[in-house]
Amino acid sequence: MKNFKRVLASILSAGMMLGLLAGCAAAPAASTPAPAAEAPAAEEAAPAEDGVQEITWMFWDDLEATSDLISLGYKDVVDRFNKDYEGKYHVTPITTNLEEYYSKLNALVAANQTPDVFIVSPGPNLDVYVNPGVAAVLDDYLADGWKDTFTSDAVFSGGTYDGKIYAIPLNIAAACVFYNTEMFEKAGAEVPTNWTEMLDACEKLQAAGYTPITISAGTAWCLSMVAGYLCDRNGLDLDKIASHETDWFDDKVVNAANQIVELSKYFQKTAAGDDNDIATAAFYNEEAAILIQGSWAIGQINGANPEFEDKCGVFQFPAIEGGNDPNRLIAKSDSLAMSSATKYPEASIAFMKYFTDDIAQRYTAEKGGKIPVTKVEYDAAVAPKELAYVMDIFENASGTFGFYNESLADTEAGSTFDNAFVEIFLGTPIEEALQEIQDYYEANVW
């Protein structure tokens, strides 16, 4: 009996050890992707046993729960692709919310589990994947005539590095000022064209009992977008910051900071903690009169409250008297990148092409309210009214520039800029807040 127990104990112990070792053996060895220039062309792997090539796509909204019309359009793309390629290719979306998107994507990249296709904003966020070779070069795939379907080569500029294209744009949006025409009318406020008129309109709205502006400082880039506009309108040249010809205590930045403080008197009381969705909801639920946001908000506004479309007007960010060109616009595009380690590049490219085909691009304009990137013709009469206003602003624009937090030296510099302006809004002295980004540049950039 004793021997039996001993044998049993030995077998159990050995079983535990084998289980442990087997578990460890299953883990893939971490490997470092080759640098971009040396990245070998991914070889097509053998499909799964059922013959279907399974790919993943990572996106920053929940496709099942969202009411955002652009996200719903992407869901249609996924469904169409899976239906058309049934038995050959299949895509599974990996979704998360926008705030956590890059953290989760980075965790997957670090774990050597990069999604085959992922959405990304051009700028420092894309640099992170291009420089170490995580994102694949796409020129060869574009050469089959796909590139000719786009409106111009300029739409690829944000995703081009050393002449090679790493990201496919899906649409273009411009940052504008959305306003509630009914509230403006009742308050006797006029659409402002300059800063003085903007403050005057806010004053009238407040006097009429409305919350003039809804904004999110909880999602820092929303407030930072306004700060970026103010810096640009005051005449700040980011190239001069980058080359250290000027610094973050430049008068133009300080003016922008003072203007944020001035404007913050008209924000909703909960701006410090409200996230982007809550702040946007306050606008389309008619709790506030003004929302300064990208035109991607059109899909969100009309998706959540279609009746609001008739009351929603759009104007361009006002000029600063004595400042820079007031017709410059912040523009941004959603882009797709492909993993350089994907086993199924053909399936991934086929999937990416579905985002830029005529059906998807027509939907982008007619339902989503964003500007298409291809030469597709869409029916302006059925497109959201807000898109027509945005197109007017776009046509009169003298130039575009990126979000400041996506136009600085790196992602952390962008976050430091965001945080500095949120600090100013929260009441930290301007010099103290700007010192943060000055210190970052002195330590890491200059």
């Binding site: 104990a9 050890m17 965790a107 670090a110 400082a217 909880g218 903690g273 929260l426």
Partner: protein
């Protein structure tokens, strides 16, 4: 049993699985993290040795680290004290009632077994002005507008800001059941003879709690405090789900700062340095608690 313990092969055989498991999933990753903390490492390119740079930056220049350290220490002190007091009160109360003991025990312990992420979101909604407490009080006429009430997760006034107090109380609600269970287990092991002897000598229930129960559960106090201290130092989920470290990093703690540096900015070397600081703090707290909470073992 003695024969088995003399058999060195058997000892090795029984110890080996646990030893290998701990080595692979604990010791090696800790050593790796310590190494990475001295490197500039983004997980995509090989680590580059930078010596103490990460620690110098972390401890002298990183303002968010100072906030995170302050909040973590506050959280630890609050948790240790509040859970000690509340856990003891509940344990004392439940061991002295005859009816409904199991019911209340389960009620108090229930939040411990629920998902922190789900609870975090739930409490976040409760403290959102337009949805939760403030909206309810507005409907009762206490406020004319929900934003007139306290901005529970947004107010930034004071050295320890209101959102940190709110999160600390939510954590107390969630984890007090765990302390209570530990104390109850220890109290139930105390012989009734001791209490009966104290009653014969004229003690009431209060005095017997102070002079018999408290001294005899002291080893468990040290254990519970150590667990609370370590748990609250590496606290993450409620903060992440209720405020995400905001407004503007004001509710950041060490674990959320580590997460942000590692996964948002790909600074795994720097994040490892935060992890090492966290580890040192946990070890230090365990040492201090064991040193200063006297643990005489009495026959019970």
């Amino acid at each position: 049993m003695d024969k088995l313990l003399r058999n060195k092969k058997a000892i090795v055989l029984f110890v080996a699985p646990a030893f290998i498991l701990f080595t692979l999933v604990l010791f090696i990753p800790i050593l790796q993290s310590v190494y990475y903390s001295f490197c500039d490492y983004d997980a995509l390119t090989p680590p580059k040795w930078v010596g103490l740079d990460n620690y110098v930056k972390l401890l002298t220049k990183d303002k968010t680290m100072k906030i995170a350290l302050k909040n973590s220490v506050f959280f630890m002190i609050f948790s240790c004290i509040s859970q000690l007091i509340m856990g003891l009160v509940l344990a004392g109360f439940l061991t002295n009632i005859r009816k409904g003991r199991n019911l209340f025990k389960n009620i108090y312990y229930l939040p411990c077994v629920l998902s922190s992420a789900a609870l975090g979101l739930l409490w976040m909604f409760v403290f959102t002005p337009k949805l939760g407490i403030n909206a309810m009080l507005t409907s009762f006429g206490v406020f004319s507008d929900p934003t007139e009430g306290p901005l529970w997760l947004m107010d930034i006034k004071g050295y320890i800001i209101l959102p940190m107090w709110v999160i600390a109380f939510v954590a107390l609600w969630q984890y007090v059941g765990q302390s209570m269970m530990l104390y109850m287990a220890q109290i139930s092991g105390i012989s009734n003879d001791l209490y009966e002897a104290s009653y014969i000598d004229g003690c009431g229930k209060g005095k017997s709690f102070i002079y018999i129960t408290l001294p005899l559960i002291r080893p468990m106090v040290a254990t519970a405090m150590s667990l609370n201290a370590i748990g609250s130092l590496k606290f993450f989920d409620l903060i992440y789900n209720m405020t995400e470290g905001g407004p503007n990093h004001r509710t950041e703690v060490l674990a959320t700062h580590l997460y942000e540096q590692g996964f948002k900015y790909f600074k795994y070397g720097y994040a490892s340095a935060i992890g090492v600081v966290l580890l040192v703090l946990c070890l230090l707290m365990t040492f201090l608690i064991n040193k200063f909470v006297k643990m005489d073992n009495y026959e019970m």
